[in-house]
Point group: C2
Chain length 640, copies 2
């Protein structure tokens, strides 16, 4: 193991990540937020995760089965079979993307699958005359109703303030787009209609059909991510993320709800914070892609139930009070303006439906993106954030629950915890001779992020420093097999008590030792115990065992960084072959993008929302026993 890091740049996004030497391109792509198509979960079996290396050093093993010599000569390789050996530039074809391939393939398929709710239609109509005095709207509607699978007799749906634009847009001599009147025949007028489903939400002068965009939001408790998509081509143009500015009012959903209950205008403030954060993201996306904000006509959002209530400015108090019910489960479509989201003033927001009090639209999005609801086989999907959301099932039945994992894996409530940013130790390995760490940004370390926390505990369990009950042994209790370089790091810190020194003060940015403390181990036990208990209960509700679970799908930013062996060692993930544990990237974000690009998926989202059974852990008689059991670390796991 080496602590070298290399820069891998993915095209056409131009997105770069730094990864340790030896990381597979499949995992690197996941870190860059790009989900590759890989039915086998990166096991080198399905041959779907083809990418093209255009620059840089790598090592591959096993791609040959799937590729012709010509393809190999052209730089093609299976992402899961290629490991990074230097800075690289890698091109990811549309056909290798888990989500985009469904929406964007070539030929007829493209036409069928790219079906955004928002679209534009350019129409030419005859100028009115004394012999043909139809009103503007009738005239335009007659020309487009066939294209909309309506008859001219069906009254068009159009809001009044949109309609007010029609007379001028229809007669404009200076159109915004092209072809303008220059290409119109004498006695013709033209206009571009913007359609939201079958409602007219805009009239624009000239032909502006090429300019239509949407933005998808994943509103996390901690992080908000926005994606700008070209709705004419389906292409993703930009991504931007921000820390959720509500975080300063509390790092979990209960704290946020409390704020709305105790502060005057607290709900208003929470809404204002999230909408202004989204507006910052929209501004950044528009700027970086060179797109006019006015050309963005729709925003889709997904998030947990509390985030959804706060964004929609709906009183969330009943989510925090027994029996924890929200105001709505269904999706909402509303004028963006009414939600203070600054896109086109007639644009809409579609907020995804939820499942239950603590299983929100983000989980619906995860199911949608991972296709759990269409799967014949039983699968288990896990999105670890401040809450852990768990779904298990197949197309017959889906059950879901939420566990209050707490923010430990996001670095909070951990003595030297921090988020995965520059200076964070993201990996800890205890080799035969040393404790080695990887630091993000190649800087001196400041603290531990979630993956390093899991690593450190897993490695110390393996080394015998932490026992299965989670107790950190004192130096004098350590078995004799523990080597000295480890033994020396087991300390009783004046302030923090029983601890393990991960990095000594002379190698840190602050000069202070970076410790893993007994308290950190207990926090981690609570977090992983909550998640694992949820897993156990979902299995028992469905009456299945570990063997029946054909796949474990890890969603979310954190999920994609987890090292599966270490996560199994601490009992965060079930002890299944790692080949069954797959990364599916930011599936919540993918779900939000999918409903932006394909309106029929909103019906699927509604079905998922309606059919997925919400399991309230609090009413399960044996929850507390299972939770207590789940806090232990496994005595042994099947090593691969």
């Amino acid at each position: 193991m080496d602590d070298k890091e290399y820069k891998v740049t993915f095209e056409p996004e131009g997105k770069s990540v730094f990864v340790p030497e030896g990381t597979s391109l499949y995992e690197a792509a996941g870190e860059a937020g790009i989900i590759l198509k890989a039915e086998c979960g990166g096991g080198g079996v399905c041959g779907n995760c083809r990418v093209v290396v255009t620059k840089g050093a790598f090592e591959q093993k096993g791609s040959e089965r799937f590729l012709t010599p010509k393809e190999i000569g052209g730089g093609e390789v299976l992402a899961c079979r290629a490991s990074v050996k230097g800075d690289m530039v890698v091109e990811i074809p549309l056909t290798s993307r888990l989500f985009e391939q469904k929406i964007l393939t070539d030929g007829v398929e493209t036409e069928l699958r790219l079906s955004p709710n928002i679209r534009k239609l350019f129409v030419k109509v005859k100028e009115p005359t004394l012999e043909d005095q139809r009103a503007d709207l009738d005239r335009v509607w007659a020309a487009v109703s066939t294209a909309l699978e309506k008859t001219a007799e069906t009254p068009p749906k159009v809001a009044l303030d949109v309609l007010r634009m029609l007379p001028e847009a229809l007669r404009s001599k200076e159109p915004g787009g092209s072809p303008g009147p220059g290409t119109l025949k004498e006695g013709e007028l033209s206009v571009t209609l913007v359609l939201d489903g079958d409602e007219i939400v805009g009239f624009e002068a000239g032909d502006t059909t090429a300019s239509i965009f949407g933005v998808a939001f994943d509103i996390g408790t901690t992080t908000v991510v926005g994606y700008l998509l070209d709705l004419a081509t389906g292409k993703q143009l930009a991504v931007a993320a921000r820390t959720n500015p509500q975080t300063s009012y509390g790092d979990d959903v209960i704290a946020r709800i409390n704020y709305t209950m105790t502060k005057k205008d607290g709900l208003e403030e929470m809404h204002r914070r999230i909408s202004s954060c989204m507006n910052d993201i929209i501004a950044e996306l528009a700027r970086s892609a060179g797109v006019e904000r006015e050309a963005i006509y729709e925003a889709t959002t997904t998030g947990n139930t509390t985030m959804n209530h706060l964004f929609l400015k709906i009183d969330p108090r009943n989510l925090a009070l027994n029996p924890y019910v929200g105001a709505l489960r269904s999706s909402i479509e509303e004028r963006a303006e009414a939600l203070d989201v600054r896109i086109n003033r007639f644009g809409k927001v579609y907020a995804m439906p939820s499942i239950g009090g603590f299983v929100g639209g983000d989980t619906v999005a995860v199911i949608l993106a991972s296709e759990l609801h269409r799967s014949e086989k039983l699968k288990f999907a896990l999105d670890i954030g401040t809450n852990g959301e768990l779904v298990m099932g197949n197309r017959e039945r889906l059950v879901a629950c939420s566990t209050a994992a707490g923010p430990a894996f996001e670095g909070a409530r951990i003595t030297f915890g921090m988020r995965a940013s520059d200076g964070a130790i993201e990996k800890v390995v205890i080799t035969e001779r040393a404790v080695e760490v990887n630091v993000i940004g190649n800087a001196k370390p400041i603290g531990l992020c979630g993956t390093a926390l899991i690593d450190a505990i897993a490695e110390l369990i393996k080394a015998g420093v932490i026992n299965s009950h989670g107790r950190m042994l004192r130096a004098e209790e350590l078995p004799s097999s523990v080597p000295d370089f480890i033994r020396r790091r087991v300390v009783v810190h004046g302030k923090h008590g029983a601890s393990f020194v991960i990095v000594a003060g002379n190698d840190t940015q602050t000069g202070e030792d970076i410790l893993l403390t007994q308290k950190d181990v207990r926090e981690t036990q609570l977090a992983k115990g909550a998640i694992f208990a949820g897993y156990q209960i979902l299995k028992s509700v469905l009456g299945v065992s570990d063997e029946d679970v054909t796949e474990v799908l890890l969603a979310g930013a954190f999920g994609n960084y987890i090292r599966r062996e270490q996560a199994k060692r601490i009992g965060l993930l079930p002890d299944l072959p790692s080949g069954k544990i797959k990364f599916i990237g930011n599936a919540a974000g993918s779900g939000a993008k999918m409903v932006l690009l394909a309106k029929e998926l909103r019906d699927e989202a509604r079905e998922i929302s309606r059919k997925t059974e919400y399991i309230e852990l609090a009413v399960k008689a044996d929850f507390h026993r299972i939770f207590a059991d789940s806090m232990f670390f496994p005595e042994s796991i099947a090593c691969e």
Copy 2:
């Protein structure tokens, strides 16, 4: 003929009118804006216009055929067969009303016909528990979806700001209505839903189903009338009228459109004027009926196309520019708030559809109320205002046109013209010995209103003072048969030229003679010529003659005051038996009320709007010849 006037008060409205002795109760009711059911048009044939005289002197002839002695003993009489002989109080049963009878009959019929678009549903639901954590909206929807002929799976339609009210309304301990939680069982919650079609537009604490109101508006170029209706019972609670405050920017639609084209924010100002006028009316209606403005959830509006554009704040300029097209023909449903109409903040406005550039929603309303579109027989309806709107046809085919009659019949552009208010001469009769007049309010006269203008001209034609070309003969040209008392009144006024003295200065309020001038006759010829030409052209489009027209329906305030014989004499109305000429009251207002009380009539309104053919007079090759011919006065008419 006598110039005595009596006060007739109609119950339950409590509306009073002053009418000359001998007026039939049928006509008096019409003047009070109450339209009686009378298939025979007041001919004593159908027996439908039964009323109950509770006080006062009258004379009747012909009621006996239809009434039992007991009914007669109880004061019942046919309104068309009873003439006023003193001050009276008359009760009009619901079953005798042309419109209300359809909506409001007793028994099952009522249930079927009173079907307002806006309604309320009170629902009790089980309180959520850990075993039943359905979201508030799901819980309520499951309870009401059956009543709405939906399944619980159909997602409810609800605007976000309405939804925001649900959690609190559902859990309120201080409900606005009753039965409140006092009548709820333990573990129950309740809420009242307000529904607009199948969209939820309100949540109210407790049971408020008894409190639901709507307001119907007839937005005339000159007068705006509002009606407050109880949507739970269908009963009309109050009526109020105001002069359209846009009038100060011009008395016809073209002047109003010009204002929006030439003044900065002119359209905004026009909209502001009309909406604030409507708000004044709403305030008056609510106050007089003791109703909360917040309990009014819908307003329906009808008006000509220009009024509709101005109210909706849609640029009307293309209505004034050849080829005179509007932005929309269809109806609009919009939040009242968006139109600055102050009813409940989630309430809606439904603006009726139009027919063509100058045939608006008011004509659709007239057709709807008069049931022209359902008639087997060919009928002709005429609404005389600043514009004259004309419709002819039956259920097979309807044609309509608009004629710029000008405001002559409203008193404008007439030398001593005025509106029908106190001091206006409303009737002129030349007897064998004298020129007699009726003055509104029993005051000394100030000027002539429209009916008096028609009377005066008709009487002077009969007397030989005005010839068929409309020329007022000079005194020396008068035939010797003209009596002296008439001859003395034919003068050449220093300022006004050739004139007839209607009332000499010593009997007027101002001390000045009230004259009918040659210019007034010319104005009247233009006005009646335009209307009569429209009538001729509609007949020619349909290929019918006078004999095919089974009824002439006179709508509008002015139409209901017209004396049919006189109108025929000047050629304003076709020379048909007066029995065929019927008053249908403010049919535009009735239409607006009908669509408020029965939502299915909105579909009929849409069909009327779609099917009625708009005839543009300007493109009719022979229009100018027909118009010129129509300006003459008939040489003779069939006197009855």
